[in-house]
């Protein structure tokens, strides 16, 4: 009998949560991570309301909210057309009943949480739940017997080479997953088109709830986060990134001014930047196989997507609850590992999952909004229930298929309270669309 039921590689959103949930079920869990916490990592670090709801279900939300601002309303401004909404309670409850069979712990607020804050809380929670957490632990190889992964070899915090064995090894080690690389796992559904994103942290202003702006092929967002700072993020198509990089601070401001002159003004005149500017374009989307003999993947390791809908952490939490539930049923002897993994896979590779994946990957191409999309945003104005459903759909609370359905779109159109008359983007739209194709940074 191996010493552990499960070894989790990676102790961040997917890993620490999975380890904690398994430990709470009474299983012997080892969680390892190469970092020591608190520790930062590239992240949009946004939790949609189902994300914060998971924290609440796990009794960790109070601890997070003690140091993190949270809001329920979010504003999208697309080519000057503003929509303010929030994810409705009934859709959140339906989501949790559908995915996890119970709707306890639902909260409607979202939060932007720095990873050096959140990951620390998760690691401590895993430890408190009874999981053995070893930080500063670099996994060097997987131990494979036959075709079965049975454990890991790695270097401990004091430099010792150690070997640990478990009934299952869980790869929760991010998009550049060591587990996936060691097993030589292929990637599926690859979508190389993605965004480049640059961001930093600013004090000096408080704009309240989060705002997301889109204009042409560029976008920006501001969200209040820890330390009384705001995350200010700009993104655009990765094919414009070379030109953007020639002058990162200048182009970050240029992008803000182009997408939202108001926000650009606030950041320029009031913003005090607290850190260097971070950036990435390592965001192409893919799926990997979910599970095999002795191993399973969770979080970004199994499916990574572009940051543009800021869904990664929320999906990692969802994956943690799903995989911990599936593995729990196997470890308790109720079902075989194959059955448990089939149920996990069924949910993670479902049609709804595919539709949302497509939604994100299409957005990530950062094509200018089409005329019909902008008209839809106008039609939504004043229709609060449908704006809220749009927000819920964007955040993957409600299925894409239920909002983007022909009869619904036609009804939205018919129910429109506003016309396009008040929005300059519709004046000579073809010329505007051509202008949008020009690389702003060239």
């Amino acid at each position: 009998m191996p010493r552990y039921d499960a070894i989790v590689i990676g102790a961040r959103c997917a890993g620490a949560s999975t380890g904690m949930l398994l430990a709470r079920q009474g299983y012997r869990v080892l969680v390892v991570d190469r970092s020591s916490f608190p520790s930062d990592v590239i992240s949009t670090h946004f939790l949609w309301p189902h994300g914060t709801s998971y924290l609440n279900r796990w009794s960790l939300l109070d601890q997070v909210l003690a140091v993190t601002p949270a809001h329920t309303e979010v504003t999208f401004v697309n080519d000057g057309i503003p929509l303010t909404g929030s994810v409705p309670d009934d859709l959140l409850r339906a989501y949790f009943r559908d995915w996890h069979g119970d709707d306890s712990g639902v909260v409607r607020s979202y939060a932007s949480i720095r990873r050096h804050v959140l990951d620390q809380i998760l690691v401590e929670a895993a430890s408190k739940a009874g999981a053995e957490v070893r930080t500063n632990f670099a996994v060097r190889e997987l131990i494979i017997e036959g075709d079965q992964v049975v454990g890991v070899r790695g270097r401990d915090s004091d430099g010792q080479l150690v070997e640990e064995r478990a009934r299952i090894v869980i790869g929760a080690d991010g998009r550049n997953s060591f587990v996936a690389r060691s097993l030589g796992l292929p990637k599926f559904d690859e979508r190389p088109r993605c965004t480049f994103a640059y961001w930093s942290y600013y004090s000096g202003f408080d704009l309240g709830p989060a705002q997301l702006h889109r204009r042409g092929r560029l976008a920006c967002a501001v969200a209040p986060t820890n330390h009384d700072q705001n995350m200010v993020l700009v993104w655009g198509p990765s094919e414009w990134s070379r030109e953007f990089r020639r002058d990162v601070p200048g182009n970050l401001q240029r992008a803000l001014d182009f997408v939202s002159p108001d926000l650009g003004e606030v950041v320029r005149t009031q913003g005090v930047r607290a850190e260097r500017i971070y950036g990435t374009l390592d965001q192409s989307a893919f799926l990997r196989p979910l599970a095999g003999p002795g191993w399973v993947l969770v979080g970004d390791a199994e499916s990574a997507k572009d940051q543009c809908t800021a869904i990664g952490m929320t999906h990692a939490f969802r994956g943690a609850e799903l995989v911990a539930d599936a593995l729990g049923r196997w470890l308790s002897g109720d079902v075989s590992l194959n059955e448990a993994m089939a149920s996990y896979e069924g949910r993670r590779r479902s049609q709804n999952a595919a539709a949302y994946y497509d939604y994100v990957c299409t957005l990530a191409e950062m094509r200018p909004y089409r005329h019909d999309e902008l008209q839809l945003f106008v039609a939504l104005r004043g229709n609060q229930q449908e704006i809220d459903r749009f927000v819920a759909t964007h955040a993957d609370v409600a299925p894409v298929s239920e909002f983007f359905q022909a009869s619904n779109l036609l009804l939205l159109n018919d129910a429109a309270k506003e016309t396009s008359a008040g929005y300059p983007v519709f004046e000579d739209f073809p010329a505007t669309a051509r202008m949008y194709q020009q690389n702003l940074f060239a």
Partner: protein, 514 residues
């Protein structure tokens, strides 16, 4: 934790420096720059040995350069632009075109259709080369021919090749000629039109029947005839397009309720009646749903409607004649014949012709719809040939031969569903002449459809806007003439095509719905 210094160099600059140093094989410079790289990036790119740059051997150095380049440089895509464009969009992306010239602004959509046609992923506008039976020969819209087991035609009892049906058509042609030459309100009807109304009235046990030139006209006409601006429509989210458009055309008070959810209907009715005790409410549903192959609980639905003074309209286009005792469809199966407020149907699925009808127990409703339904009064009547064919079909449907044909149909349906399920595929809904085979992703469905064309199975792929996005499927329409072996052979071909399409797209998504 100590927050990073503001004046540290950005990772951009550092990684550029590292790559430049790697080009000079300057491991020391690489290590110096790596030490400055942010904690964020180091923890993200865990596959890069940031702390070991000083001692890299040549092959590891190559890997590091490759990994960093991949992380840091935008990809240069080599793609088939046409195919990408064709697979990427859907029809409603073009629903609100830009510009004030109504004619030229259709060009963008046309460009997309052309890309779909060039890449042979356009499933529409195929043409028949001969009578469609269980096997058919067809030409696609770029002129390529194929022949295959046919699930692409709606002729559930295979009446199109039935001798008695053909004889009825010939006789009507002799007696009345091809043309009805007028509105049914003027002089477009013949004696057999009255006979047909009576026969349909007996079949659905609602004797006040009005004929319409198409099924679409019947659904739209019924709603346009009955519903006024201040009235309300509660409509199943997936009800047929003619009913959705009827709802939109008549009132802004439209609620699309969750598919089949009678509790939702009840809640909406309570809510509407709380606000509005004066105006009418029409509740609208299909019997057998045409791309989901399921049906509502009509017993409860009709009762709930009566409790709130709402009127129920049920579209039985797909089930009447092809299912249920004596061909009475979903109504007969649920023992609500004669009990539904308004029954509407189309002849094109089982009755072997264009045309539709609206039936109720009310002579007043009948006269009102004839006058105000629009599509009845202001269309030419069903042609005599069509009328005769439908009349003959309705007789066979109610006969012992009808029972025999339905049992053959059911056998083929069962064989097809079981075989498809055996390949791990998802047949939606209940056994019925419509077998919806779930594919999901539109790209996958379009490629599978392209592969299927040359492999001897004719199937219609339905995607948005017929189905919700991400929920495309093959709608397989089975006929009484299909042999169970034919159905099983087709199932294998379809399963292979889907598997090959998935490989082509390198997709790991499966077919479970949620």
């Amino acid at each position: 934790m100590s927050l990073p210094e503001l004046d540290q160099r950005d990772d951009d600059e550092l990684i550029e420096t590292i790559l430049a140093a790697a080009g000079r094989r300057d491991l020391v410079a690489m290590a110096v720059a790596a030490a400055e790289v942010s904690e964020m990036t180091r923890n993200w790119a865990t596959h890069i040995p940031w702390d070991e740059f000083g001692s890299l051997d040549e092959s590891t150095l190559g890997e590091v350069v490759a990994d960093l380049t991949q992380m840091w440089e935008p990809v240069d895509l080599q793609v088939d632009a046409d195919e990408e464009y064709a697979l990427d969009k859907n029809a409603y992306d073009f629903y609100r075109p830009a510009g004030r010239n109504l004619m030229t602004r259709t060009e963008e959509f046309y460009g997309w259709v052309e890309a779909r046609r060039r890449t042979e992923t356009w499933q529409y506008s195929r043409t028949l080369e001969a009578a469609p039976s269980s096997v058919a020969q067809i030409t696609n819209d770029i002129g390529r021919r194929t022949r295959g087991i046919n699930f692409n035609s709606q002729d559930y009892l295979s009446f199109n090749t039935h001798p008695a049906i053909r004889e009825a058509a010939t006789k009507a042609m002799r007696d009345y000629g091809p043309h009805s030459a007028g509105s049914p309100m003027v002089l477009g009807n013949t004696r057999i039109s009255d006979e047909l109304e009576a026969s349909l009235g007996e079949l659905v046990r609602a004797d006040q029947v009005t004929l319409f030139p198409t099924g679409w006209a019947a659904g739209f006409g019924a709603m346009a005839g009955l519903v006024r601006q201040e009235d309300h429509v509660l409509i199943d989210r997936l009800a047929h397009s003619c009913l959705q458009q009827g709802a939109r055309a008549t009132t802004r008070n439209v609620v699309r309720y969750e598919h089949l959810n009678v509790d939702a209907v009840r809640r909406h009715l309570v809510d509407i009646r709380r606000r509005d005790s004066r105006n009418g409410i029409l509740v609208v549903t299909d019997g057998l749903f045409s791309v989901d192959a399921d049906w509502p609980d009509l017993v409860t639905l009709q009762r709930v409607c009566r409790e709130h003074d709402a009127t129920l309209l049920v579209d039985v286009a797909h089930d009447l004649g092809s299912m249920g005792p004596g061909g009475t469809g979903v109504l007969g199966m649920q023992h609500v014949l004669g009990d539904i407020d308004i029954v509407m149907g189309a002849f094109s699925k089982t009755f072997c012709s264009n045309g539709g009808f609206v039936a109720s127990a009310s002579p007043a409703l009948k006269q009102y719809l004839k006058m105000f339904g629009g599509s009845h009064m202001f269309s030419n009547a069903l042609s005599p040939v069509q009328t005769a064919v439908v009349l003959e079909a309705s007789k066979i449907i109610r006969s012992a031969e009808g029972d025999f044909l339905r049992s053959r149909l059911h056998t083929a349906v069962t064989a097809l569903r079981e075989e498809l399920t055996g390949y791990g595929l998802t047949c939606m809904g209940e056994p019925s002449p419509i077998v919806p085979l779930l594919i999901g992703n539109e790209k996958l469905a379009r490629i599978a459809n392209r592969l299927l064309f040359d492999r001897g199975v004719l199937a219609f792929m339905v995607e948005f806007p017929v189905t919700p996005t991400g929920s495309s499927r093959f709608r397989l329409q089975v006929q009484a003439n299909h042999e169970p072996d034919e159905a099983r052979a087709a199932a294998k071909i379809i399963a292979d095509a889907i598997a090959d399409a998935r490989t082509y797209l390198s997709s790991a998504f499966g077919s479970t719905e949620r």
